[in-house]
């Protein structure tokens, strides 16, 4: 518990979350403005459009995987991992604390992303003289955003532990999201099991599969949990079996 509380303090005593939060907010303003501004009034009134609009907070899952990875890699980049392991020498315990803290941090971030999405959407709908219908159908993606972000944060922690180099980890994540997930579409229906597709299905939060390349929400959650387990398992083993980098002799 001490290690978990320390990890939360670490995450909140730098400007990492502030910058990611502001960046996410700016991005949401931009994409929601483009999305809502480009639909005609009739389309805006459709519940499916409103549900899609309120799922834009799913961008938080991308930020979550980056934050999760940075909770580990930033420590290696700045050398603070040395003192962290001196205070908590059982490496598995420290990394588990990072995983738990990462999940809590991105939970809060995702909730704020949902709130921002709702606020921005309300303002746009109001401005265009339309009404958002807030019911279980349209608000379902809000839970999906939180769930997907928590899973993404866990994957990020595992990936950070596996690669440990900050720039390398960020590049790997971005390349996968920008290229890897697209390339894997060639695999047909199997693509729905790719990490990005699975987390997208969690955000979409459909109880049943609506298309061939997208899982229903609960199978997608299970797939996400499997990814968290794999990345964290392999990453934690990699950290446990390696030396902490040093600049001395």
């Amino acid at each position: 518990m001490n290690a978990f509380r320390a990890e939360l303090l670490k995450a909140t005593t730098t400007r990492l979350l502030l910058w990611f939060g502001l960046g996410l907010l700016a991005f949401l303003v931009l994409v929601l403005s483009i999305h809502i501004g480009s639909h005609d009034p009739e389309s805006l009134r459709e519940l499916s459009t409103q549900r899609t609009t309120l799922g834009f907070g799913g961008i938080a899952a991308i930020v979550a995987v980056l934050i999760g990875s940075l909770l580990v890699t930033a420590e290696y980049a700045h050398g603070t991992i040395n003192q962290s392991f001196l205070a908590v020498p059982m490496r598995g315990r420290l990394l588990t604390a990072k995983l738990a803290a990462g999940v809590v941090v991105v939970f809060v971030l995702a909730a704020l992303a949902d709130a921002a999405t709702l606020l921005i959407s309300e303002l746009w709908y109001h401005g265009r003289g339309e009404t958002l219908h807030l019911g279980s159908y349209t608000l379902a993606p809000f839970l999906g955003v939180v769930g997907a972000s928590m899973l993404a944060g866990g994957i990020g922690v595992g990936l950070g532990a596996l690669i440990r180099r900050q720039t390398g980890t960020i590049i790997t994540i971005l390349l996968w999201l920008l290229i890897g997930e697209g390339v894997i579409n060639a695999a047909g229906d199997s693509a729905r099991f790719a990490p990005g597709h699975a987390l997208g299905a969690v955000v979409a939060a459909h109880r049943t599969s609506t298309s061939g390349d997208m899982l229903a929400v609960w199978p997608a959650v299970v797939v996400g949990l499997v990814y968290v387990a794999i990345f964290c398992g392999v990453g934690f083993l990699a950290v446990a079996g390696s030396d902490v980098p040093s600049r001395g002799d």
Binding site: N2, A3, R5, A6, L9, K10, T13, T14, R15, A74, H78, G79, T80, N82, Q83, S84, F85, L86, A87, V88, P89, M90, G241, S242, D243, V244, S246, R247, G248, D249
Partner: protein
């Protein structure tokens, strides 16, 4: 307090530490010396659980570091002065460590005062001078009020004032019953501070002695001037003592002045000069770590 047993650490083909064994008792200041690349940092990192040994073991109070119940309360370590997040304040850096180790936050204020950083505690560490960062490292090491301090090149980059502060601090820590294990290549510092030294070279132990023993070992010849120098030299050689005539009436004798004086007195030979050429830790270090000439 510290026990290193047949420790070997290899990095791919390079052997950083090679079957190193030594032990260090409680309540003393032990210097850990060796040229750059000798394996000092690697040994300390294995001791602190940051590097995994290839074979052998290094323990503190009979246990591996990661097996200690309360590691920060047992060992305080000062490693590189660059191990900080530049955007975190000095106080928050210590609070994070205190929280992780289950140490009361009040202790943070105490160690900040101890290292004279209270006024700078709210500033981000990125704006600290090297000396301030080194003092913050010392504060982190003191958080758990440990009985052992392990320091890796703590004087690196410090200005003379910082070095003096560190020396005074470590001496007071040892005087209050603490044990200090300090690696350094600043030999003058170690000779002023340490009770004993462990010297390694190419990962192997080359000496583990008190500073006094080591400097005596490095002592050069005793200069002797006598009007009957040749007769004295003969008597010394009869006693198995080696020596040479360097100039008229002057001998360089490889024995302590007391021994030479006693022999001269027994033989009734007058001495006009008897001066010990005292060695230094630096000379001893250079002798022990000299590369063989090819």
């Amino acid at each position: 307090m510290i026990e290193v047993e047949h420790l070997t650490k290899r990095f791919r083909r390079a052997t950083a530490v090679d079957d190193l064994s030594f032990s260090m008792p409680r309540g003393r200041i032990t210097g850990f010396l060796g040229p750059n690349g000798a394996g000092k940092t690697t040994t300390l990192r294995v001791l602190l659980g940051l590097a995994l040994p290839t074979s052998g073991r290094a323990t503190v109070a009979g246990r591996r570091y990661r097996e200690l119940d309360a590691p920060l309360r047992t060992v305080g370590a000062v490693l590189e002065a660059s191990n900080y997040h530049p955007a975190r304040s000095g106080r928050n850096h210590l609070l994070v460590l205190a929280r992780a180790a289950g140490i009361a936050p009040a202790r943070v204020e105490k160690v900040l005062a101890q290292v004279e950083l209270t006024d700078a505690a709210r500033r981000r560490v990125g704006g600290y001078s090297l000396g301030m960062r080194q003092r913050l490292s010392v504060a982190a090491a003191l958080l758990g009020d440990p009985e052992l301090l392990v320091l890796d090149e703590p004087a690196n980059g410090l200005d003379p004032e910082g070095i003096r502060w560190l020396r005074t601090f470590l001496r007071s820590f040892a005087d209050s019953g603490g044990t200090v294990f300090v690696s350094s290549h600043v030999l003058a510092e170690v000779s002023q501070l340490a009770d004993e030294v462990v010297i390694i070279h190419r990962g192997k132990l080359v000496a583990h002695q008190t500073v006094a023993e080591l400097t005596l070992q490095a002592a050069g010849a005793t200069r002797v001037r006598s009007p009957r120098a040749e007769e004295l030299l003969a008597r010394l050689r009869e006693a198995g003592i080696d020596g040479d005539a360097t100039e008229s009436g002057v001998l360089a004798v490889h024995a302590p002045p007391e021994r030479i004086g006693d022999l001269a007195a027994e033989a009734g030979i007058p001495l006009h000069e008897l001066v010990a050429d005292t060695g230094s830790l630096e000379e001893a270090f250079l002798e022990l770590t000299a590369e063989p000439r090819t």
